[in-house]
Symmetry: D3
Subunit: 159 residues, 6 copies
């Protein structure tokens, strides 16, 4: 059985993330969506909230489980016996950072491979950061996030 990990802050999960999860689920027997607790930037949602929003979003997807982790990603991946770390690639700037991150992780844990997937083209411009910004300014983000996230964002931002 091959396990892959899809790590991220998921603050909050977007339709772009969800699209990557679905694609990964077709490639691996088990996909762990792993919410990173130690984000340097101050997250809008608590780790617990982020985990719950991911759980609501991936409900019903076969072979997909949700978890959270602290510490080094590659240590977590080793504990989970994952063969791969999955990352979505949207843009060139993503790519550069992701490539550096993947090469660093390979140095730290050669047995875990990083693979890159391209999200659906219509999600190319969707990032958690932009979505929070637009929601704060009163924009309609209904087509960029799962229903539960929309509700949670409105409550959190008191809109």
């Amino acid at each position: 059985m091959k396990t892959a990990i899809y790590p991220g802050s998921f603050d909050p999960i977007t339709n772009g993330h969800l699209d990557v999860v679905r694609r990964a689920a077709k490639l691996f027997d088990r996909v762990i969506v792993a919410v990173a607790e130690n984000a340097d930037k101050q997250p809008l949602f608590t780790p617990q909230e982020r985990v719950e929003l991911v759980q609501a979003a991936v409900r019903g997807l076969r072979g997909v489980v949700v978890d959270h982790f602290r510490g080094l990603l590659v240590d977590y991946a080793r504990r989970k016996k994952a063969v791969a770390i999955v990352r979505g690639l949207r843009a060139v700037s993503d790519f550069e950072y992701e490539l550096q991150f993947a090469l660093m992780n390979r140095k730290l844990a050669p047995q875990v491979e990083t693979i890159f997937l391209a999200p659906k083209d219509e999600y190319t411009f969707v990032s958690s950061r932009m979505i929070k910004e637009i929601a704060r300014l009163g924009g309609n983000i209904g087509c960029f996030v799962p229903r539960e996230v929309l509700v949670a964002l409105r409550r959190k931002l008191s809109l």
Copy 2:
């Protein structure tokens, strides 16, 4: 009559911005230079100061007016009945962010088109951030900003 909006923080306006304004003014009947009030990063100048510095810089340019706005750019653009949002492109990294921003705005307001202009090559490396940094360190920024901005920067930084 076709109206275009040139939005930005303009903290402060540079000769590179001014070059883009002049180019846009040849393409559209009216160009609104729109100072964004809600910048996440802490601006050096207040919105009021930034508006005044832009006004001093664009004085005499036909069809160019200065304004400020809060909230979502596309909402503002719709209220102003703008057909276009104008953005300057200097580098690849600009381009990527700008493209994502444009595609997001198109999703939110399909009737407003984003157009990109290239500033004069000698302004390729001029950004508000770099100019403030150099001014702080005592560098001569006289050839990168309008005269009024030079004076205002010196006063603000107590140089």
Copy 3:
């Protein structure tokens, strides 16, 4: 009245090109889709065929006319009294070449501005070259080109 030129080889015109034409038509009073006769790479369609395919594709679009030209683009733009040259930007590699091209043209003809538009995200990966390659290999390109182009490509490639 403001005229813009949208130049290209259009070998053949794609839905991505057409999307740019429609966007340009909202910004300018007149848009000339200008087929370049002197392409260095050997085109699949003759200039005459390419012009006809563009004409069929833009039929009914207000303010859009089709033309062809030899020689320097900026000379043609000047003769047509165009205020702008329109270019579609899909990727970073596009952007770099286009920026160099725009700066060179500005040097040759400062009065003509180059503006960049982003095609619809679903056309990001559509290029004439890729479409011809896929058509040659028997792939279905029906959703990437106008109907007339599909027919013409099949006939030309004897599929």
Copy 4:
């Protein structure tokens, strides 16, 4: 059983390619290294020679088989019931072309996912094109290609 396809011209296979094959073999039950016969650029080696060089290079790798194909990659992938197309990513320029190619293939065959792997950092600058160029000029390419390729290149170029 999950099958992945690693397509390419492999003209000839390099240590960079081989590194990607090894990584893919850990992720999938079966990896088909698929030599494309219809390369537009004139290859140095015939399809038959390229297949043989790949076979010599991957000998002993579990789950790796070698094949060749004509026509559309996605049609071939469907016939082989592959869940994934594997591509190596070395540089930003690679990335852009590869992303366009992946999105186009997804449109043509939504059930086949494209995944990107990063080759070992020391192979970042190794491409078949550069290797042939250096071999032609008499440079030592022994550390960039498998032993059999080195011999074959010398014979082909009559060095």
Copy 5:
């Protein structure tokens, strides 16, 4: 005698930096590794500590001296009668920022040339920021930094 300056925050110095110093030392008679005191981001190490770590790392390299500076880099370079500022280039995103920085510095001090060097490929993904992050999370960074830096990082982070 030709002097070059290799400026940076060096918070802390990495093996990638050290690789650039060694390369620069072969090109110029004297290389000044110049620790910038006025970093905007809050450094982990004090200027004094950073200078000492650089000194320990470059010990024994001929023609290499360590210094620190405040204020504008080009003013410092002029005082030191440097002909060149040396910068390491790892990625495209580096390149863009560095190019802007170099062009700006050229405008401020035309007599000082900026030259770019590529660090060893295995250091492509090594940055001070990533190293501190990994050290904080308990990762092994022994192969990315000089011995003294490893010790200092452990003490500073109380690991």
Copy 6:
């Protein structure tokens, strides 16, 4: 005495190239502008003509000599006892290719360092290829090339 090599096809030399030569001449005791004879693309000018045009252009520059070479650049650099290969960087696409080329050359000859210089910003968009294209179409290229090149291009293209 430190020697650097500035290699290229120089088909023909442009003001952008010349700008790089001038900058390199300030950094090294001797700069050899080395015309590559074995360009894969068919050059417009013969190696002999290209050498003569470079000679005319660099006349009077101290420490600059002109030469031509066949075979591998790094072999030539070793024979000339050069410490550095100089390359101009204009754009991101340049950078990627150049970086791969530099890393490959370092592998082949570790003792020769590649250094990158940024040409003057107004030459960012000047390439031999674009200049020949514009000259062919009758454009005025007087501000992009030395006087002798202008004359030679006109004669060669029978304008």
